[in-house]
């Protein structure tokens, strides 16, 4: 117990970095994922194809490999960012592919009559999507998106092996210095991740009640 209290500053610093990783890559993934989903249902074949290729590649590649591509591949061809930026980019590339599919499943859940009615009123594809389909789609996509974001919270731990000093890095250091308090350290850090997920889940449940679609 003492080991957690004595190192509270270091632990909080680690989790602050974890939260930054999560929020930045989470927001970026929601934006990019929605754009990708829109591309996948658009009438333009090139956009559809490009989005499909991206989603399939990103979704079927292990996260560690995506990290390697960013952190080792990019500097080799002269593209330099901080390790933190690379981590956000890698997490975003991976997560947005899943968000895209969740949003697309939401789009499929909107009854075809809605889009047809909008088209009959003379709306363009863009208006149809942003005013009619996506607002409804997002609502039914909240539960799967929550799942993906929970996975993202835990996936941020991969950044420990790629130059980012987040919560898991703090854990490695504490385990090195206090080998006798193994369980306190492990469950303390695990509890921190659980707390983030708990807050996220509570927010999602609230949001779901707020905007639930009445059918």
């Amino acid at each position: 117990m003492n080991v957690l209290a004595d190192n509270a500053g270091e632990i909080l610093e680690g989790f602050w970095k974890t939260i930054q990783l999560f929020v930045l890559s989470g927001v970026a993934s929601l934006v990019l994922g929605t754009v990708l989903a829109s591309m996948r249902v658009s009438p333009i074949p090139v956009l559809r194809g490009a989005a499909a290729v991206f989603v399939h590649v990103a979704r079927n590649t292990p996260l560690v490999l995506i990290f390697i591509i960013f952190v080792f591949g990019f500097p080799t061809v002269g593209i330099q960012f901080s390790f933190f930026t690379f981590a956000v980019l890698a997490l975003t590339a991976y997560t947005s592919a899943f968000i895209c599919e969740a949003v697309r499943s939401g789009i499929n859940a909107v009854s075809a009559g809605q889009a047809e009615a909008a088209r009959a009123l003379g709306m363009t594809f863009r208006q149809n999507l942003t005013l009619i389909v996506l607002p409804q789609a997002t609502r039914s996509a909240i539960p799967p998106i929550t799942n993906i974001l929970i996975a993202l919270v835990r996936n941020t731990a991969v950044a420990e092996a790629f130059g980012v000093t987040e919560a898991s890095y703090v854990m490695s250091g504490l385990l090195r210095d206090h080998a006798d308090s193994l369980y306190w350290i492990f469950f303390g850090i695990a509890g921190g991740y659980m707390l983030i997920v708990f807050v996220l889940t509570a927010f999602a449940a609230w949001l779901e009640r707020r905007v639930a679609v009445l059918r």
Partner: protein, 292 residues
């Protein structure tokens, strides 16, 4: 805590004796286990089992050039630790071709010794008081210390005092990364392996890599045009040979064998063939501990 550790060690040494007993005389002799383990200890533990045996199992690192490295293409092992293993095998009367090398990573060296997965660990294994509570360590056969690896064209870092604010790579959870962060104000860049760190250094994503000088010399020997080791060691690491806890006869044998290797030049030859290739001359012969 201490009591339970002692009980564990006792339990392990008892099972170990039982194991030896099976090999040696269980078939002829049906004495109850108490008497049998007494007779087994007279047959001199690990040393008795190994002398003239048909193989020796040694735990080594596979990813440290110059110290212990496995060539991914040929599967051939090379490095100073490998040469030390050959010297020990020779003294046991075991052919160097009959050494079975098993990969050990830092975290599983003690478990491997305790579980008898390996007979010896020769894997850049620093002697510490903590470790000597659970395993025995003979040596040191090499003394090194934490040093810095930088790009060959970088003249801004010449020692740990130049690290303030610089990005320094080492393995997550290592003592090296803690030292540069806490004592010298470096920005830590943790990675999973030293190979990855060296790649990030060549990529210019980090400014320096830090760990034991012996390991860094190995990397410098591999790409002398790209990276170099700078500054004096700023910690002390003494590499020892790990083996089963409390095996006094093995301990004496290993100390005698290492002393003989220091005296007849085979130790210096082993260094010249491996770490010496990075251009440094052989260090003075280390002073062996008289206990394990």
């Amino acid at each position: 805590m201490t009591t339970s550790a002692a009980a564990l060690v006792l339990a392990l040494s008892l099972t170990a004796c039982g194991g030896d007993d099976d090999d040696d005389n269980a078939s002829q002799d049906n004495t109850p286990s108490g008497g049998a383990s007494a007779s087994a200890s007279a047959v001199s533990g690990t040393l008795g089992r190994l002398q003239g045996a048909d193989k020796l199992v040694v735990g080594v690192k596979f990813d440290q050039p110059g110290v212990g490295e496995k060539d991914p293409a040929t599967g051939k092992l090379s490095g100073f630790d490998i040469e030390i293993a050959k010297i020990i095998a020779k003294a046991l009367g075991i052919d160097s071709g009959d050494i079975e090398f098993k990969e050990t990573v830092s975290a599983n060296r003690e478990p491997f010794i305790k579980a008898r997965t390996v007979d010896l660990v020769i894997a850049s294994y620093s002697i510490t008081e903590e470790r000597r509570k659970v395993v025995s360590q003979a040596g040191p056969y090499y003394e090194t210390g934490q040093q810095l690896l930088v790009r060959s064209d970088d003249s801004s870092i010449n020692g740990p005092d130049d690290l303030t604010g610089k990005k320094v790579c080492s393995v997550s959870g290592s003592t090296s990364i803690k030292t540069v962060e806490e004592k010298y104000g470096a920005a830590p860049a943790p990675f999973a392996t030293y190979t990855e760190c060296v790649q990030q250094l060549v990529n210019k994503s980090v400014d320096a890599v830090t760990t034991d000088g012996a390991i860094l010399l190995g990397y410098a020997a591999k790409q002398p045009d790209k990276v170099k080791v700078v500054g004096d060691p700023f910690s002390q690491e003494r590499y020892g040979i790990g083996f089963a806890f409390g095996d006094t006869q093995m301990c004496e044998f290993l100390i005698d064998t290492l002393q003989a290797a220091f005296d007849d030049g085979s130790w210096a030859q082993a260094f010249a063939d491996t770490l010496g290739k990075s251009g440094v001359s052989a260090p003075p012969v280390p002073q062996l501990d008289d206990k394990c």
